[in-house]
């Protein structure tokens, strides 16, 4: 028994004293618990630019009549549910990491870093609410505070706060060296704070024009405030200010449309876009589309099969190191033109309209002579019609499908129907929204808003700013 007791005591002493380095053993040697803010900023920008995969090309791209699928048409005929990557990416990649940056930047008094993260987060959250409608906002991204089931907020409340956030961010940006640096991770502007401030203000204009039908008062207030005071509110002054992310082009970070095309390769340019370009002798067609074996531009009806139709141009599907545009100078000009044409602000609508077209064409290196000729085309030349602005905006937003689809829903221009061979009959317009991701419905069911008809997958709700009537 003595031996037993001795051995037992010995063992107990031995094992319990051997726990002193357990915490060290269980410290992850493969991942740090700290990372420089700039490297996290780089991730937020890169993932937002990548748009979380091929979703953009397939869903809003086909809804907007820009690009479609020629073989595996399931998604473009609304079979099943839409991809959830924009939701999951904006919340768990962009917002979580932006929150981490903001928190740390406040602690380190790097106001520029704080403001840049706020702008990116606002950009992402506008995308989410424009795609889904009501969504978690004020309680979102707070898992570490125990908020596992955030409530959904209305688009109205979200937009109101997004304006505040951007206003705050614009005010924070400073070129004073004490304001802090963005570092190598700033892949949008290479640390140029002045252009970040323009980005922030221009984004406010995008939001303002979006809500101009539903809350003209607020829209007008924002438009006049920003457009009326260029020194306090600098906005884009040329294509060099465009918020565009150029991809490195390696297999891991390849421009998303090229990457998507390389996986299946059945993406074709859509008929509405090709027909509109052809009808206007638009020189951009040579960039947007490739000719068929017959040597013509031949767009594919969304929902039809047809691999022999025109592919998108190589600039978009064979350009691994190509850019993704967040928002451009030409869009700013179309916003100005619309605001002027609708009398929301006082400025020269025609000049803005033509500058918008010019800027869009210059993105492709199209020469002045061609642009001038184009501006004389009968259905291009300024006619003092808002519809013209919206159509040109739609033509220029190729490869910015989320925005193109949102603007189409707001303006009903161009007026498109649902896909041919639609799996969801009974509609007269392309989809109004994405239905919420399955994970959100099952894991946060108590908070899913009752006024959204989830069963009508793509159409069950018109986003707050979508004031179209007679659409279904």
């Amino acid at each position: 028994m003595k031996i037993l007791i001795a051995v037992m005591t010995g063992l107990l002493v031995l094992v319990s004293s051997c726990t002193e380095n357990f915490e060290e053993i269980n410290t992850n040697p493969n991942a740090p618990d700290q990372a420089p803010m700039t490297n996290v900023l780089g991730y937020v920008i890169a993932s937002l630019g990548y748009r979380f995969g091929e979703t953009e090309m397939i869903y809003p791209g086909s809804f907007a009549g820009h690009i479609t699928k020629a073989n595996y048409t399931d998604a473009v005929v609304y079979s099943g549910k839409p991809s959830s990557s924009i939701w999951t990416g904006c919340y768990s990649t962009v917002s979580r990491n932006a929150n981490a940056i903001i928190e740390e930047a406040i602690g380190k008094e790097n106001v520029n870093m704080q403001a840049a993260a706020m702008v990116l987060k606002a950009y992402a959250m506008q995308m989410v609410t424009d795609v889904y409608g009501p969504c978690p906002y004020f309680e979102a991204g707070k898992g570490e505070e125990g908020l596992i089931h955030p409530v959904f907020d209305t688009e109205e409340a979200i937009y109101a706060d997004l304006f505040d956030q951007l206003e705050l961010a614009s005010g924070l940006f400073t070129e004073d060296p004490l304001g802090g640096l963005l570092g190598d991770g700033d892949q949008l502007y290479g640390g140029d704070i002045a252009r970040w401030k323009k980005f922030s203000n221009t984004l406010q204009l995008r939001m303002a024009i979006r809500i101009s039908n539903v809350n003209p008062q607020l829209a007008t207030e924002v438009l006049s405030r920003i457009l009326g005071d260029p020194s306090a509110y600098p906005v884009f002054e040329g294509n060099e200010d465009n918020a565009a992310l150029v991809f490195p082009g390696d297999e891991e970070w390849m421009e998303p449309w090229t990457s998507a095309f390389r996986s299946i390769g059945d993406n074709r340019i859509a008929k509405p876009l090709v027909d509109s370009l052809l009808a206007r002798n638009d020189p951009r067609i040579a960039f947007y589309a490739d000719t068929t074996a017959q040597g013509i531009y031949d767009g594919l009806e969304v929902g039809e099969e047809g691999l022999s139709k025109s592919k998108p141009g190589p600039l978009f599907i064979d350009n691994p190191g190509g850019p993704v545009k967040f928002i451009t100078y030409s869009e700013l000009q179309f916003i100005r033109a619309e605001a002027a044409a609708r009398g929301l602000v006082t400025l020269d609508a025609q000049q803005a309209y033509e500058e918008g077209i010019r800027a869009s064409m210059q993105e492709y290196g199209i020469g002045d002579a061609e642009i001038t000729a184009y501006l004389q085309e009968p259905n291009v030349a300024w006619n003092n019609e808002v519809e013209q602005v919206n159509l040109q905006k739609w033509l220029s937003l190729f490869h910015q499908s989320w925005e193109a689809w949102a603007e189409m829903r707001r303006t009903d221009i161009p007026r498109l129907g649902p896909a041919a061979n639609s799996e969801k009959p009974g509609h007269n317009r392309p989809p109004f929204r994405f239905s919420y991701p399955e994970t959100e419905i099952s894991l946060n069911s108590a908070n899913i808003p009752a006024n959204v008809d989830e069963e009508d997958t793509y159409w069950g709700y018109q986003i707050w700013w979508d004031t179209r009537t007679g659409v279904q």
């Binding site: 051995v7 094992v15 990491n97 570490e144 955030p150 970070w253």
Partner: protein, 1101 residues
Amino acid sequence: MISTKQKTMKHLSFIASFLLLSLHLYSQVEVTGRVTDQQNGNALLGATVNIEGTTIGVITDSNGEFSIEIADESAVLIISYVGYETRRIVVGSQRTIQVALAVDATQLEEVVVTALGIKREKKKLGYAVQDLQGEDVAETNPTNVVSALSGKIAGAQIITSSGQLGASSTIQIRGNKSFNSNRQPLFVVDGTPVMNGISSAGSTETYTDFGNAAMDIDPANIESISILKGASASALYGSRAANGVVLITTKKGTGRQGIGVEFSTSAAWDEVYILPAYQNEYGQGRNGSEYEWQTNYSDLTYQEFHDAREFIWSTDGSGRRLDWDESWGSRLDVGLMVPQFDSPLDENGQPIPTPWISQPDNVKDFYETGFTQQHNLALTANGEVASGRLTMGYSDQKGTSPNTDQTKINLGLNSRFELSKKLSFDVNVNYVNLNNDNLPQQGNSMRNPLLEFNSWYGRQVKTQSLYDTYEDIIIYEGKEMAYNWMMGYDDQHPNPYWNAYKNTMSRNRNRMFGNASVTYEIMEGLNLMGRLGTDFFNEHRRFIFHKYSRDWTDMYKNATNGNLWEQHRLESETNADLLLTLDRNLGENLSLFATLGGNYRMAYDQYATTSGKNLVVADFFSTSNYDGEPSVSFTQYKKVTNSVFASANLGFKNFLFLDLTLRGDWSSTLPKESWNYWYPSANLGFIFTDAFGIDSDIFNYGKLRVGYAQVGDDTSPYQLASEYYSIGESTFNGVRLFGTDAVLPTFDLKPQLTSSLEFGGEFKFFQNRLGFDITYYDATTKNQIMNVDIPYSSGYAGWMMNTGSIRNRGVELQAYGSIIRSANGFNWDVNVNWSKNNNEIVELQENLSELRISYLYGLYDVSLMAFPGDQWGAIYGYTMARNENGDVLIGSNGRPIETETPQIIGYVNPDWIGGIGNTLSFKGFSLYALVDFRKGGDIFSMTKSVGQKAGILQSTVEGGVRETGMVVEGVYDEGVMKDLNGDGTSEDVSGLPNETVVSARDYWRNSRNFAELGVVDGSYIKLREVSLAYRLPASLISKIGLQDVTVSFYGRNLALLYTHETNDVHIDPEVAAGGTVSGVGLESYQLPPSRTLGIKLNVKF
């Protein structure tokens, strides 16, 4: 020593004489005799009669008779028989000898190996242990010890990831206890745990199954296997035993005096024996069915229709293009002439049309006859002080997939040194080298040829033509491309031979495992043992990818000059044990067997991986040739567990036994507050036949068992803190990207706990000729540590927490019977095992109404789910909507409507499983056959789901639907309008039976959204193993100094005797996509299983 040397020389000469087939004849006096059972006088067949001091011996025949020649009258015969006491007889002047052997009482007690390698009498245990002898697993010469357990263990489900060489096999005992992927039992060899990790069965990076690490254990070297199934049996192994323990004892040198040699050699052939049911009526193409022709183009001939509609030819003059990868083309074997990829070319370089005919065996033709040779040599020596067994094994395997292979070298030394009566030590070392020049690639990857064969490979494609041209590079649409049966789809549809020969995954592993222990007898019955065991291996994996490969997989998108991926792995586990055992009688009726011990365990793994974007010099595979910066990663994982444990077995009068255990663990993976946890077990065994003196000829043994036990469990390393992770392997324009962990950690993790209750009984009848062992268990695992999905809007994808409890209840039955024992030596033995497990998710974390265990098939939202109150592993996906009567709802297009929400469309758990083994023996012949079966257990089959969409399966032509079109059975959905009267006005037809004719193409191409159409019931009956062995008569072989010569013919996986009707795709229901949780219930382009036939020679002397 001299005599030993002489003996050795003699043995060597015997080896030589055997190998040269020259006979040494010994002369002289002949002695005959008969060996019988002392108790009943029955003849004993197969008793050994040896001449002492020599290796000469014979074996008795069916009458118990023998005949042996002795040198002179001083010879001494040693007569032995398993289970009987050995007798020694001096011949003297006798010429006929009658020997009656007495039953050896000590050997009647069945001894099994239990926890910590301690041998215990089975009757004294209070829990279920199933044991197998070495020959039970080695009978048909398996290459993987885990797959060799199929059908032999009650309550264990064996799943193989594929039917190809090197495939991993997993074993799951008593149902799914956890939501985590680690559900494998612990493997222990000679007292020390060995690793049985499974890696990369279907990972996105490599798509190669590198097998389960326990396959390094040489089945030929196994003495016995004990399976400890419940928590009671495994409490002493701690956390990792929560899923059961497989204890393997290797053969030792002890037990036989002098030197022994055992040699075996075998050759086996493999052929693919299960392939999907492909259709052979329609070829590749877009919409060329007779239905389409007759409906819309009946004014054309079929040939005209085909020429006008089906083919779009390249405009570059290469004449090689078939622009559609599905099989909705024109009818085969009806006289169509079509320019094809292997058509001869005319003077303008245009293909000359050739007959459009089916190639029913084009997939089978790709596969070759596999061949395996195995050779094993074992030398045993047993002396005064030392005994040992040295084993050498070599096997060489060529797979049925072209250019796949595996060679394995095993070396092992098992030795024991008895320095004094009190002090002894054991050393047991194994070395394994495993080498594959190329392993088969699998899963949902273009590198898996079955992805092509089962979906996109036209039924008209002639495989030989692909073999003949697979290295050809041609100019197509201005681009250099590898020649193929389909030239469109630039980055897809690789020629299967290209992948087989050009894009190879090699692996080389060097592994050592073993232990050394010292045992000291402190006093009579009190022993102290110290043991240090280790298992470690280095493994090198290398994937090469040639220029011109077609593969859209992310990693290789830019690899225009080829690519290279290499990984070095080091995995190790070290265990140190200190164990005090006490064995003593506490008075006349009370015995005590107690242990007290401690264990230190450390697991350390590291992985170093290098890959590049592209190569500079095409097809030169070296890290020095990467174009630009390569991606390099190095990761390591470490975990330490300290434990103390104690057990006591109290025996009363040899019929009542109480077992008590207690264990405490300290785990480095848990927070300080909970890293120490304790768990107990108690078992009672009662042999009522002994207690009440029951011993009739009919019922001679009965035992009842009851036990309760708990087993705690920890988690993997580094789960307690939130970290920043480097995103991906490359940088973004030179900037390394970092993101925060998407899993929210919980700081108050508690250990997981399994509590189980077990009842059982063991009953033997007719003097042990018939026996049953039945067990009922009820085990609940709670506080599961897992990553729970939370809404993304929380900012996180998951939350690491304690959640949920799972209950498994089940019955296991083992039975054996000696059906026939005849005096003429004809015997028939049957072994049956059967088990049923009921699984229930008792609860999940509050607020959690469902839990996604894994995605089965991400693209189409088929998941493996857990719902409270339901069983683990519901297959969940969108499918066809039905009304309250269960009728499928049909839309105006004549096709089913999809459900708005996912539905449960199956359960992965089998209803019950079992196996029946029969052994027939007569004289020297022995015939063994094993049939195993499974009832239920659904599988979501990608082969079926995608193959139907692609029109390649038999189900897509069944019923002549491509000639007539089809009407889907169902009723019209609400709001469907049809013009029924033909008066031009539509009326509401909702609820009326569907009458709309659709083409087969229209229906099946849209069928993939209906996940239920991809589900098959996994029931099967398989003829698993058959062997016919012939043991040469002792009288013949003893003349050349041999002890035993056996020749056997064997077969494994001989026939799939039954599958369920829903398995019309004809997949092997047993083969799942890998050993991880995500692989359960999913068939993902399974590699075709092989049937093995072999011959084996076994010689002992």
